[in-house]
């Protein structure tokens, strides 16, 4: 890692520590703590969708399902076995990543050959199936609670966990973006036929991007499950997948900074309106925020950060070569 990135990581750690101090000293109340954590969890999940849709160009409406799979599988681990042991919680997060990634791999193999809208429909179908599975899961695993919801999950998620996960997620995604596998992934979005003609194994990189994105969703789901200590199938309804899609598009497809900003902004806006608006007109939230969406998309059709990154997330600069006279095109003049 080069210096500006190192500075950025250090700055992020300092910011996380400052928030932790604010929490411990009681300057930030429990409600604010919850919102900040939830905002970061949304960030991790939507970064994952940005890998799939923004980097790789695969239109997935299944992201919420992988988020749910991560949430339920991690919750099962802690509820049934490890309780409030922090190592157990770490293990549960890993299990969530493996379950989401593994299912993504198995589901991805047959459906990733589909393109755009067709892939969207197939992944939407998957989301509906997973929701039905959660609704009826108590028939096989009583601890999952089925349509009554899953209760008694240890409340393990705390700011340090969320902060570390968010920083790791951003750093890994940036490293991926500016590497050969990352470039290969993006070339598929640009032109799949040309990519394959340039030696890019398109099946392989589509699978890598899909699995990686779903692992992000799974980890975010695990943190979410242990934040609220309660899971309900309706949290993973297919409609919720559009919230994630919206954040990624709003931030700008393929922009890491954009997804981070949009995810934080979206969460804070919805919660902020809850504080600002009187309770009788609270439903106006869902008028105000779509209106803001429409305005943003009209003013910035490529999203807030379309094609842009914050300085520390930008591609490393590569100095140009010195000019040499004997180039082919020069010779032919």
């Amino acid at each position: 890692m080069k210096r500006p990135e190192l500075v950025a990581v250090l700055a992020a750690i300092v910011a996380a520590v400052v928030i932790q101090i604010l929490l411990v000293t009681g300057v930030m109340n429990a409600y604010a703590e919850l919102i900040v954590q939830y905002a970061c969890i949304v960030t991790i999940a939507t970064l994952g969708l940005n890998i799939i849709y923004g980097f790789n160009g695969q239109f997935s409406l299944g992201h919420i399902a992988f988020y749910g799979l991560g949430a339920y599988s991690a919750a099962l681990v802690t509820k049934l076995w490890t309780g409030d042991n922090p190592f157990g919680f770490f293990g549960a997060i890993i299990v969530a990543a493996i379950v989401s990634g593994g299912v993504a791999f198995l589901v991805g193999l047959p459906i990733l050959r589909l393109r755009s809208d067709y892939l969207g429909i197939a992944t939407l179908g998957f989301t509906v199936i997973v929701k039905v599975f959660f609704d009826n899961a108590d028939a096989w695993v009583p601890a999952m609670g089925g349509a009554r919801g899953m209760t008694a999950i240890p409340r393990m998620t705390s700011w340090p966990w969320v902060a570390v996960a968010t920083i790791v997620a951003v750093v890994l995604m940036r490293n991926f973006a500016y590497s050969s596998p990352g470039r290969a992934t993006m070339s598929i979005r640009e032109d799949e036929i040309a990519a394959s003609a340039m030696g890019v194994n398109t099946t392989k990189y589509k699978t890598i991007a899909f699995v990686m994105g779903c692992v992000y969703a799974g980890v975010a789901g695990a943190l979410y499950a242990h934040l609220y200590a309660f899971l309900h199938p309706s949290n993973f309804d297919f409609l919720k997948t559009f919230d994630m899609l919206l954040i990624v598009v709003l931030g700008g497809l393929g922009s890491i900074s954009g997804t981070i900003m949009a995810a934080l902004g979206w969460t804070f806006l919805l919660e902020g309106l809850r504080v600002v608006l009187p309770s009788e007109v609270l439903d106006l939230r869902y008028v105000i925020y779509p209106l803001m969406l429409i305005i943003v998309m009209l003013l910035r059709p490529t999203g807030l950060f379309g094609g842009m990154e914050l300085p520390f997330l930008r591609a490393p600069r590569i100095p140009k070569l010195e000019k040499r006279p004997q180039s082919a095109a020069a010779e032919s003049r």
């Binding site: 590497s179 070339s187 032109d191 003609a197 030696g199």
Partner: protein
């Protein structure tokens, strides 16, 4: 021993015989033109060779190994690169990245090393960036490395596409109408460029082209296709005076 041997190659799209039992050979180091009227099946032949289409029948031998059924990225790895008739660059990615992507199949670090920035990552990345930059310099595109490929002027996009194809280190280069849409001065430069890269990179080249100036000027042998079949084969001079070729292009004289 020919580098590429196409044997009785056939491709049907439903009832349409796009390519109908054609056979030809390309020797190591040759520069061959593939010409024919629109819809003759020239680009289909390219797509068959590069693995984008599966042939209905027939065989393609590259370096005496059958490459029928080999996926496109593997064909590229074996040493066949191509450009496209309607330029297919990675438009929103930088010029440099367009070329660096073509090194992907030979990169020596994996996904995990890229994520964690360990192992040979830094060294390998530096090496391939250097190679890409040198290639761009050779094509007079070094100054534009950070611009999105889609924003380049047309002629430079054509040049970049050839540079990108060469980055895969091919032995056989397939050029699909490289001179399309170029003005006479650009065509002249292109012809010299093709001859230059052929020597510089030790290439065998198969070229689809409509501009007779290019074909007759640089090709050693010409294969003429019409309605999915080979109409004639020979030196440019022979082809120019072949009555069947003239008929395919200009039509029959009214008796």
């Amino acid at each position: 021993m020919p580098l590429l041997k196409v044997d009785n190659l056939t491709k049907n799209f439903g009832g349409l015989k796009a390519v109908n039992g054609i056979s030809f050979e390309i020797g190591e180091g040759e520069l061959i033109g593939l010409i024919g009227p629109n819809g003759a099946g020239k680009t289909t032949v390219f797509n068959l060779i590069t693995g984008h289409y599966e042939p209905t029948a027939g065989d393609i031998l590259f370096d005496s190994r059958s490459i029928v059924g080999v996926p496109p990225h593997e064909v590229t790895k074996l040493g066949i690169a191509r450009t496209f008739q309607n330029i297919r660059l990675f438009g929103s990615l930088s010029v440099l990245d367009n070329v660096r992507i073509a090194y992907n199949c030979r990169v020596k670090y994996g996904f995990m090393e890229a994520l964690l920035r360990v192992g040979g990552f830094a060294h390998e990345e530096k090496k391939l960036t250097m190679q890409a930059q040198e290639l761009l310099q050779l094509f007079n595109l070094a100054d534009k490395q950070d611009e999105p490929a889609g924003s380049l002027p047309y002629g430079e996009q054509r040049r970049l596409e050839i540079a990108r194809a060469l980055a895969t280190s091919p032995r056989l280069l397939l050029l699909d109408e490289p001179a399309a849409g170029m003005n006479p001065a650009e065509v002249h430069n292109l012809m010299e460029l093709i001859q230059f890269i052929r020597k510089q990179f030790d290439l065998t080249i198969l070229l689809i082209e409509h501009q007779m100036r290019v074909v007759m000027g640089i090709c050693e042998r010409v294969v003429v296709m019409d309605f999915g079949e080979i109409l004639a084969e020979g030196t440019p001079a022979e082809i120019q005076s072949n009555p069947k070729v003239i008929e395919a292009y200009l039509g029959k004289e009214v008796a």
